[in-house]
């Protein structure tokens, strides 16, 4: 079976400093995979290269076997990759539904149309997506007044609007309360299962990572130091040293989560 996402020798240097150095990995269909590591390890750089926001210094990125290295984000999106951001990037001056409609207008290539009223286009479709993330009842609220957790869910709905085969989620639960984190990741897991989407996400909350990720990759100083199941990664001495720490924080809770 072809990997949905395949990365070979991905590297990026900023003025001589290697932020990401020769990273190889794959994401299989239907897989929920986490990318963790200390701050400055290169997670965001990695993500930005996958999505086309940054041009890699070296290496290749394949989506279902097709090379997408260095394509701009909008093209990668059209090829079926959705993305959510660490700090939400919703359209503050629009309603919740319009945020999704906007993505649908893009998906249906209506961006340059001048005649119809935009707020009427693809509304049903948008409401259906909002229903998936449990936001349908807030469809007509202004995005600017949403609670943070709701924004995160809205972002997920937007990311689903082009029927992606792969979702890239950058710290999807950052800034959320523990209960909401669980709910959002449960929702994501359900979507992965129901729609057969693959997800690659970064995260600092180890509860979330250990509870939901099928596989975990650990990045340190631009290099991949581990790639495996939760227990493999947790047992890895190097990972404990650079990232997880002495375990006072997660050892106990991790088991019962």
């Amino acid at each position: 079976m072809t990997a949905v996402l395949k990365v070979e020798g991905l590297s990026k240097s900023f003025g001589g400093v290697k932020a990401v150095n020769g990273v190889d990995f794959e994401v299989a269909p239907g897989e929920l995979k986490a990318l963790i590591g200390p701050n400055g390890a290169g997670k965001s750089t990695c993500f930005n290269m996958l999505m086309g926001q940054l041009m890699p210094s070296a290496g290749k990125v394949y989506l279902k076997g097709e090379q997408i290295t260095g394509l701009p984000p909008r093209v990668i999106w059209r090829k079926g990759v959705g993305r959510t951001f660490q700090i939400t990037g919703t359209y503050q001056s629009m309603t919740v539904a319009e945020n999704v409609q906007m993505a649908l207008m893009s998906h249906h290539r209506k961006l340059f149309s001048l005649l119809p009223y935009a707020y009427r286009l693809f509304r049903e479709e948008a409401l259906a997506l909002l229903d998936v993330v449990g936001m349908a009842d807030q469809a007509d609220r202004s995005c600017a007044i949403l609670a943070y957790g709701d924004l995160k869910r809205l972002e997920l709905a937007i990311a689903l609007s082009n029927d992606p085969m792969l979702l890239l989620m950058d710290e999807p639960t950052a800034g959320m309360a523990p209960k909401e984190r669980i709910n959002l990741m449960q929702l994501t897991s359900d979507i992965v299962r129901d729609r057969g989407i693959s997800v690659l996400f970064t995260e600092h909350d180890m509860d979330v990572v250990f509870a939901h990720a099928h596989h975990i990759m650990v990045l340190n100083r631009g290099e991949l130091i581990a790639d495996g199941t939760a227990s493999e990664v947790r047992a890895n001495a190097r990972v404990q040293e650079v990232y997880l720490g002495g375990g006072t924080l997660y050892a106990a809770e991790g088991s019962h989560a």
Binding site: R78, Y91, S93, S106, H107, Y117, A144
Partner: protein, 620 residues
């Protein structure tokens, strides 16, 4: 060789005043994010105050003392402006303050006229520095050498102040995050006031120090401001060494321009500016500016909906009223409303790109004037019939906007604004100095409409149809998918790119569309006036439009139109008075302070508070 050296020295001497004013502007912008249009006025005040002091204080001590005192006095005036005008509106939407500084320009113009009278004043010569030194056989004025010596000293002092002193560190910290500086125990209000004092004092110093090379006159303020903007932008906004390098560069280039291409000195400067910004978008020493880095203050724009039945009925009634004007009103009323309608369309086109697109253009008049000139040139040189020429006005302006937009759209924020300014000034200087084709300053005259539209009333109806039609088309586009896409690129360019939207392309097309509509307004204008002159695409015209959009309300859809009606109406009334600029300036400052959301935005809030309008759901 001698001549070359002498020219270089002249350029360096000329850089002195320019650098002082530019460094002050740059400093103020760097810390407060205020684009202080009134900086030229402070320079002018420096000249007048310095002159008055020099006439009172005798001798060399009096001369140099007057220069320093003039700086201090203007610095104090700066404090007054900061405390009275700017402090109340620091929390208003970004760039809103520039409207207030425009009001300050008007006020200072009339006050200077009242105090010092209309006559130009020649500055006294520097005692002991009245003659020349021969360098390689060429005469170089002693005062030039003094200026060349003083400027690096001031640069060094400023550099030392900014990089080495505690206050300098605080200033740079406040540049980045005012609130945080306050939370760390620093009184940021006084830091701002202090910076304003320093910036104003530098401008005052610039005005006083140039006295022996010129004098004081009432046109100094606007004459220097565009050159100062050029310097600040080329050097990099907020960079003082950049301002120095750019003032020297511009001054020296100008000296050689005078010698080798005397007819095109203006064009030269703007070409240099456009080239620098195209190659180094953030100026020579400027830093990259991320949009929103400095916290776009103010509320988020609200979701929009097309007006309901009541609103539509209102528009319809208004149109009926306007259509009845020729039956009841005077011919002048028709002319006045024609003018206002044309200006409304122009302002609406700027509002489209500024509000929906988040792209603040400082040079929008280039498309208004560009459209007008396109039509006028066709009529003048090709005897094109009016109908066809009028059609070519928006087309010509649209093409121009496509061209200029291609360069500008790559930048954002203030740098975008400045690049649009550079290009519009470039086009303006071309039109102004290429007299053989454009008639230069004497413009193109006798561009009248065809017979069927030559009557005032006929043209009134025509403008009503086309002008209102244009505004309605723009409004509809805001509600169309393209308008939404444009707003998406403004709200979050990152999210837009990540959902398949080609942000730059969308902005580019929107820019061209706004230019096209401005060109349509320009076309209507030229046939209503019968003539066109370079001042219609000058910096002042662009500011007029900017001001009405901000005054009307940036975060509304009708702000531009309302602002235009408001401004043109009160201008029509005020200009009959003796000191109308003073009053207009005060009115502008007053509106800005009372209605920081613009007229429409503030009325909407008032309406909501007293229950006339439905309140928007508040946060959480």
């Amino acid at each position: 060789m001698g001549l070359f050296v002498a020219q270089l020295l002249t350029g360096l001497a000329n850089a002195a005043a320019l650098f002082l004013v530019a460094s002050g502007l740059s400093l103020i912008f760097g810390v407060t994010r205020i684009v202080n249009f009134a900086h030229g006025s402070l320079y002018m005040l420096g000249a007048y105050v310095g002159l008055t002091l020099m006439n009172t204080l005798p001798g060399a001590f009096g001369f140099w003392g007057s220069i320093v005192l003039a700086g201090l006095v203007v610095g104090l005036i700066g404090i007054l402006i900061e405390i009275c005008v700017l402090r109340p509106i620091y929390r208003a939407p970004e760039l809103f303050q520039l409207v207030a500084t425009f009001g300050v320009i008007l006020v200072i113009q009339d006050l200077a006229l009242m105090i010092w009278g209309a006559e130009d004043r020649l500055g006294p010569r520097a005692p002991g520095l009245k003659s020349v030194v021969r360098i390689l056989g060429e005469p170089v004025p002693q005062y030039d050498l003094a200026l060349i010596a003083i400027t690096p000293f001031i640069l060094f002092a400023l550099w030392w102040f900014i990089t080495r002193t505690r206050i300098g560190i605080l200033v740079r910290a406040a540049t980045q995050d005012r609130e945080m500086v306050g939370a760390l125990g620093v009184n940021q209000s006084w830091l701002f006031t202090g910076v304003f004092f320093l910036g104003a004092a530098l401008a005052g110093l610039g005005g006083a120090i140039q006295l022996p090379k010129g004098g004081a006159d009432l046109l100094m303020d606007l004459n220097i401001i565009s050159a100062v903007f050029v310097v600040v932008v080329i050097g990099g906004m907020g960079s003082i060494p950049g301002a120095f390098i750019a003032s020297v560069l511009i001054s020296v280039l100008n000296v050689f321009g005078v010698a080798y291409i005397p007819q095109s000195t203006l064009v030269l400067i703007y070409v240099v500016m456009a080239v620098v910004l195209t190659v180094r978008p953030y100026g020579l020493l400027g830093r990259e500016e991320k949009a929103g880095e400095h916290g776009q203050v103010g509320e988020v724009e609200r979701p929009i909906r097309p007006v309901g039945t009541r609103g539509r009925a209102f528009v319809f009634v208004l149109l009926v009223v306007l259509a009845c004007v020729p039956f009841v009103g005077s011919s002048f009323l028709q002319v006045l409303i024609t003018d206002i309608l044309i200006f409304c369309l122009f302002a609406a086109s700027l509002q489209f790109i500024l509000s929906s697109g988040g792209l603040v253009s400082f040079g929008h008049a280039v498309f208004f004037g560009g459209g007008a000139y396109a039509a006028a040139l066709l009529v003048t040189y090709a005897d094109t019939p009016m109908e066809l020429a009028l059609l070519c006005a928006p087309l010509g302006a649209g093409l121009l906007a496509l061209g200029i937009g291609w360069f500008c759209i790559r930048l954002s924020g203030v740098y975008f604004a400045m690049l649009t300014l550079a290009f519009s000034q470039l086009v303006w200087s071309l039109v102004y100095q290429w007299g053989a084709v454009t008639g230069g300053d004497d413009g193109l005259v006798n561009i009248w409409p065809s017979a069927w539209l030559s009557g005032t009333t006929a043209y009134y109806y025509f403008t009503l149809a086309v002008g209102v039609g244009g505004i309605l088309v723009l409004r509809h586009i805001i509600h169309s998918p393209f308008g939404y896409t444009l707003r998406a690129t403004r709200d979050s360019a990152r999210q837009a790119e990540a959902t398949g939207i080609d942000v730059k392309r969308v902005q580019w097309l929107a820019f061209a569309l706004a230019g096209t509509m401005a060109g349509l307004a320009g076309g209507l204008f030229v046939f209503s006036k019968g003539s066109i002159f370079p001042n219609e695409l000058e910096i002042g015209k662009s500011f007029d439009a900017l001001i009405v959009v901000f005054l009307g309300g940036v975060k509304t859809l009708s702000g531009g139109v309302v602002g235009a009606v408001f401004m043109e109406s009160i201008k029509d009334w005020l200009t009959r008075l003796e000191y109308w600029r003073l009053i207009l300036g005060l009115v502008i400052i007053g509106v800005v302070i009372i209605a920081p959301d613009g007229i429409v935005g503030s009325l909407r809030k008032l309406g909501e508070r007293i229950g006339l309008l439905k309140e928007q759901e508040s946060m959480r």
